[in-house]
Amino acid sequence: MKKTIKLLSLLLITVLLVAGCTQAAPPVEEPEVSDQPLRVAIVTPSSMNDLAFSQSISDAMQALQKEMGEGKLEYVYSENMFVVDDAAAAIRSYAQQGFDIILAHGSQYGSSVQEIAPDFPNTVFAWGTTVDTFDMPNVHAYEGASDEGGFVNGVMAALLTETKVIGVVGPIETGDAKLYIDGFAAGVKSVDPEIDVRVTYIGSFSDVALAAEAATTHLSAGADVLTGSAQMVIGAIGKAKEAGAYWFGTQADQTSFAPDVVVASQVYHWEVILREIFAL
């Protein structure tokens, strides 16, 4: 019972945090008023409903569409572009079709943007997650402070663990996944430096089976709270669910997948930064 109350209060804290963040967001700047809708093309490495990275941009676009009103924002997308060459072809073709803004939503797309952007000076390119704009006037870069939410998740995880062992299932040690995981570990340590945070990187963003095995390995090594980043973690969440271990999510809300064990998810609200990019 005590555990449930603890859990509920933690959930409440998260909700407040999220609410707090939303209010802190800068006032909406409307893009230049014109009758033409803003036309955006998005290229993502996984599917738009992956409950993770690509879903976060999809959710943000839908939120912005609602916010900007009917007929103000149109978007098309190419998903599952995990082959960078295919993504580059898609980015170029969107630029040729005259889209106003092209979002290359994946840190692996950087070199493609760098190559293509100079050929289309009137098209705005944005890519993430990174901070590198290659000093090009028509390139934006965006990065989520995923370590911040990771820290909050880490604090909650530290309060929930009884075995003092927490397992992390990461993809490749880079980008927002690494940020999140480092933030998470720091959050745990801030509560109790004695807690053992064990990190595995499985070397893939899509290998669901290996993610599941990594989670199983953490569980047999004594972990009772798990977290992880990127779309292949659904394999890990499945194992957490079977074992009744708590799960902390990131990138998108993962509660629907395993409501009983997902304690909290850090959600990427890209609309905050997209608003600024669109307004420029």
Partner: protein
Amino acid sequence: MIKDLFTATVIIGIISSGIRLATPYLYAAIGEMFGQRSGVLNLGVEGQMLLGAFVAYFVVLRTESLLLAILAAIGVGALMGLAMGFVTIQLQATQGIAGIGFYLFGMGMSNLLFQKLIGVVENIDGFSAIKIPLLGDIPVIGEIFFRQNLLVYLAFLLVPLAWFVLNKTTLGLKIRAVGENPEAADSLGVNVALVRYFTVTLGGILSSIAGASLSVALLNVFQQNMTAGQGFIAVALVYFGSWRPFGILAGALLFSMVNALQLWIQVLGIPIPSELAVMLPYILTILVLTLSLTKGKGPSALTKAFEREG
């Protein structure tokens, strides 16, 4: 730190993880082996796995029947295999390219169907672990070997069965003959095309079940591109195992257990960079491949189309 690896928990963990990870490889690689032994290289395994994974998952989601799911996976796998056969045996297209085509088709089709028919990632109730009476109670060994799900047991039973079919039956003899010297087999009255159709269809079915073993038994979820290259590893394992069922078994287990080992190395905090740990199974595969290629030679007629003269 290193000595932490030699505890019972870790060793049991590595072996049982290895057995689970090896399951899809076994189905797919044994199927691929039959095709290659008869002279057909199928690089479409990954696509067949993805379609099988999707179809089985979809059937469980809609009907909750695991039997129907496996039957559906078999049906789809057979169709994919027959299509591959038609293109490479009937139309005599280059096998490597045709296989890549079927890989892309399977991947694209499973994506499309998933988007149109389901759309959200959902958990299902798949095959659950079956504890074999008595054997499952043996300490350590029971935990490792006899508390797995049905598809895991069947994958391991498939190995001796494939060995028996290949080496002790007339069918196996025909398969080998067609793969070594189709002209000679043909002159002795073996229907080369029919044998190859059989092996490629069987390969399709087994690849499809390999996919299903992920989506409705080991993970109980479907996600686009979830096989993550396992179909190609399966093709490599056929070479690794020198086209023999037990060689494939050894290769699949070695690869999977080293993969499980590298997870434990990371979990135990043994200071090896994660990039290096992740590479371990692949480095080992390449090492064994380079060492074994010198002795094991593949079927002579592999990738060669056969056309009857006269």
